[in-house]
Symmetry: C2
Subunit: 207 residues, 2 copies
């Protein structure tokens, strides 16, 4: 039969095209990438990308799901784990994002574009999990708030963690340019933040 899902198959070409697509789509977004860009980046002919993937849109969908998984896939697992403390969860979140974004710096802007221009396309992709609202993470934070006699919306805590961690990657080119910092220097700043952000979060929200 056909069976393309077999074993080694043509891993090579299809994978190379997908890699090229990932690179171009992630850095330039859907509208600005030409299928010819992907062809060139992959080193193959234009028609090949339509041979393996049916269309530009289909190929984009695949890359989009990959990137979504990268950006949101690990959150639920961390937030809903009963065995870790609130502080450990903060550490895990920040560590995951910093390490992942150092390797994939284009993800934040890609996701933000997606979210702002394709709100309906996202709905189906992420409505299955209530995520933050009913998580162990939120319960732990609410317990802490009660104990401390404070009253901060859990969403603020979550927003603060993600903001402090993700935004500096999204704005990296601007901050680097205006402060004359090179790639390596900026990476060091981000690694510094990996240690600092959990401390800051604890200081600011948990007294």
């Amino acid at each position: 039969m056909k069976e393309k899902e077999d074993i080694g198959k043509s891993e090579s070409t299809e994978q190379k095209i997908k890699e090229a697509a990932r690179k171009v789509f992630t850095s330039k977004g859907y509208a600005a990438t030409r299928t010819r860009d992907i062809a060139e980046e992959s080193g193959f002919n234009l028609a090949l990308i339509n041979y393996y993937f049916r269309s530009k849109e289909k190929l984009f969908e695949i890359i989009m799901l990959d990137n979504l998984q990268l950006f949101m896939g690990s959150i639920i697992g961390i937030l809903d784990e009963p065995a870790t403390s609130l502080e450990e969860k903060v550490d895990l979140l920040v560590t995951y994002y910093v390490d992942m974004l150092i390797v994939n710096p284009g993800i934040p802007v890609f996701i933000l574009n997606l979210v702002n221009n394709n709100p309906e396309a996202l709905k189906e992709k992420l409505d299955r999990a209530s995520l933050v609202a009913n998580s162990v993470f939120v319960k732990q934070f609410q317990d802490l708030m009660k104990k401390k006699g404070m009253n901060i919306h859990p969403l603020h805590l979550f927003m603060n963690i993600i903001s402090l961690t993700v935004f500096p990657f999204a704005a990296a080119p601007l901050i680097k340019a205006k402060n004359g910092i090179d790639d390596e220097g900026y990476k060091q700043l981000m690694l510094e933040r990996k240690k600092l952000i959990p401390v800051w979060i604890k200081t600011m929200m948990m007294v």
Copy 2:
């Protein structure tokens, strides 16, 4: 090619086209907007946008400069003011951004795209001011650090303020969708943050 720079001329139409362009460019970005979109949004014919502005690119440049001004124009003035204290500067920054972004929620993603896809186009626009590095703001923070016996890079302070303030606007559609919050509810959250962020910043960085 006569004198179009004359007097009152047709304020109306030109301004309407610019408004339409601002709206479409800001929400969809350069590549995804068709000049026909702008024509439709403005209610005028396609050819009009080329009659008033020479080309799509020229028109975009104008909108881009407006948005850049909106996003960065007020920072220097705040950071370099000798008459305000460090804490007052934090208040002013957060207040400016929250109020401005409630009215212009599309600005952050627009700027982030610009910065990530047109790094060279930005260079000339913002190299004239060292901005953060030599500002009164940084000096005041360094004085504080010395007094407290601490040692945090001033860039972290600046990043933290902007991250906490701006990111929740960039990610708004995602956060709203996942938490079932409507526009008005989200606006209230942001107004809450306007008060909270300065408190948090002081707590986390100034002990």
